[in-house]
């Protein structure tokens, strides 16, 4: 479904991605793990067209995205819950969700997706008329994921959905991610919480200072000694 081939992304002169290649197949949950500054967010922003690769190809169902506008990429079926949540602070929860469906015309479909999202996140329904900026951190995270779902994406990019959440909420968010996957959405999940990420993912990549250093299915990665040491906190 998605394939990155030898992608280089720069911030000015700083090389953030040094030729990474990853692929995500339809129906999979793939995780991208790595420590701070490894380039995970950069990868998602490059896929979404917010950053442009200096070199390399990004193929989504055969179409090269490296010069496609972000709004076109959204239309093609890629949505994202970004790092730092980025909800619209002065819009209500309901308006935030409507913005998620900005590109869509099918009123009925939007309505049924709204219901689906409220089933996944009942808390958001309770807070429907509250301004986004007044939600708690965890609620904002739910809203960011829900807003991305409102685009009815075929590929959902999640950037650290567990960041700053209480342990209870983290496991709740991860079970929701599994549910979204079970409902048929392909997911590329960026996480620092490698332990949890590898329990929901089929496959994973380990990113280190802009390069993929390791890849394999989730079980292999969980068993890998370097991963255990660096990302799962084993001694």
């Amino acid at each position: 479904m998605l394939e990155l081939i030898d992608v280089y992304t720069y911030y000015g002169n700083i090389q953030a991605l040094k030729g990474i290649s990853i692929h995500v197949e339809t129906g999979e949950v793939v995780t991208l793990i790595g420590s701070n500054g490894a380039g995970k967010t950069t990868t998602l922003r490059t896929i979404q067209g917010l950053l442009r690769p200096k070199q390399g190809k990004i193929l989504f169902e055969g179409k090269d995205l490296s010069t496609t506008s972000t709004q076109e990429i959204v239309r093609l079926g890629i949505a994202q819950s970004p790092e730092g949540r980025m909800i619209f602070p002065r819009m209500t929860v309901l308006e935030n969700l409507e913005m998620g469906a900005f590109q869509r015309q099918d009123k009925l479909g939007i309505k049924s997706d709204m219901e689906r999202v409220f089933l996944l996140f009942p808390r958001l329904q309770e807070r429907m008329t509250q301004k986004g900026g007044t939600l708690s951190g965890g609620e904002q995270q739910m809203l960011a994921i829900a807003r991305a779902l409102m685009a009815r994406p075929r590929l959902l990019l999640l950037d650290e959905p567990s960041m700053g959440l209480a342990p209870m909420l983290v496991s709740q968010i991860f079970s929701i991610i599994q549910e979204i996957s079970a409902q048929g959405t392909t997911i590329l999940l960026v996480e620092q919480n490698a332990r949890l990420a590898l329990t929901v993912a089929n496959r994973g990549y380990v990113l280190q200072t802009g390069e993929i250093v390791l890849t394999g299915n989730a079980k292999e990665l969980q068993a890998d000694p370097t991963v255990r040491k660096a990302y799962l906190g084993d001694e």
């Binding site: 067209g49 917010l50 980025m86 819009m91 900005f102």
Partner: protein, 358 residues
């Protein structure tokens, strides 16, 4: 602010009001006497302030919309409004309108003038964005600001040139730089008298028309921003540009639309001010722009309701100062109030607390 700083500040304010105040017309006993002697003057003056304030508000919206979207103070905006006035005057000339032309014959010219000045200013504003601001979007913040000042000069000179086209447009009068008289077309029927109310308060059909048009523009803009998808896209870009992109909003298109709307509002204000004050001059963009910008800051720059509130407040304050203080000191009073408000509420009356805006 620390308590001692507050005390110093109050002292400074008291000093200015008590000592400098009388020079600048702040003579409280006389003002009170004036108001008691003829309260109707006060009411009339409040109405004048309200209407001028509504026009300032429309210009202020152009500043605040653009600032909300790209955080640029568009210094050329006031001059754009001036060009709108010249466009309207030119249309009046083309239709051969003169002072006191029957209202029915003036309706079509006025509608055409509205379309022409709104359209021209919208187009000019979009072109300005495209060629003067967009290339500098990733430059340091000062660069587009300087560019805006440059565009402001270009517009002023354009206005000066336009005012000198008397051989083509006789209505422009004699010298290029001189104020032009704008035909007085709106009927000065005293509405209160027509309703059988005997007062000395002046409220004419002319006042009503200008007020209604100005308020309709503001209400229309609000509905557009709150209800339509395009308006929601504007709010989204203003609140978080990256998030707007992520949900699939074409940010460039929203920026163009913002300049288009701001320009159309400036053009409409140019026509309104011509019809209301019956005089336009190529420098009026500078003063009006300054007041409108002040209004936008007063209300909280980036905040639409704030710009409207700020505009009306500045209009009222100016009208009261003109009447009761001293018209020569009006600008000083207006900006004095601005300074005061910004000292106590740096983010403006309705602006959100800057600390929250990370």
């Amino acid at each position: 602010m620390k308590p001692w700083q507050k005390i110093v500040l109050y002292f400074v304010i008291a000093y200015f009001v008590l000592l400098l105040g009388p020079i600048a017309g702040f003579d409280l006993p006389r003002i009170v006497q004036d108001i008691i002697r003829s309260p109707s003057v006060l009411v009339t003056q409040l109405l004048v302030g309200l209407i001028n304030g509504a026009i300032i508000a429309i210009i202020a919206l152009g500043y605040t919309l653009v600032y909300g979207i790209i955080e640029l103070i568009n210094f050329a905006h006031g001059d754009l409004y001036m060009l709108g006035g010249f466009a309207a005057l030119t249309v009046m000339g083309a239709f051969g309108m003169q002072d006191g032309a029957p209202f029915v014959t003036a309706i079509i010219p006025m509608l055409v003038a509205l379309l022409v000045s709104a359209g021209l200013c919208a187009g000019l504003n979009v072109l300005t964005e495209r060629y003067a601001y967009r290339p500098l979007r990733n430059a340091p913040r000062l660069a587009p600001l300087i560019s805006a000042i440059g565009v402001s000069f270009i517009f002023q000179n354009l206005g000066l040139f336009w005012g000198g086209l008397k051989s083509f447009i006789p209505i422009m009068g004699n010298t290029a730089a001189a104020p032009k008289s704008f035909p007085d077309l709106l009927p000065r029927i005293d509405l209160l008298e027509a309703m059988g109310i005997q007062t000395k308060v002046d409220f004419t059909l002319k006042d009503l028309i200008v007020l209604v048009v100005a308020v309709s523009l503001m209400v229309g803009l609000n509905l557009f921003i709150q209800r339509t998808p395009a308006g929601k896209a504007m709010r989204a870009v203003a609140q978080n540009r990256d998030a707007a992109k992520i949900v699939g909003i074409d940010v460039d298109q929203v920026i163009v639309m913002t300049f288009l709307i701001g320009g159309a509002l400036a053009g409409s204000a140019g026509l309104l001010v011509g019809l209301y004050n019956n005089t336009i001059v190529f420098t009026m963009g500078f003063t009006a722009g300054l007041r409108a910008f002040t209004a936008a800051v007063l209300g909280g720059i980036g905040n639409i309701t704030g710009a409207m509130l700020g505009g009306v407040l500045i209009g009222l304050l100016s009208a009261l100062s003109d009447q009761y203080l001293s018209s020569r000191w009006t600008d000083a009073w207006v900006f004095g109030v601005l300074v005061l408000i910004l000292v106590f509420r740096p983010s403006g009356l309705l602006g959100e607390n800057l600390q929250e805006k990370v």
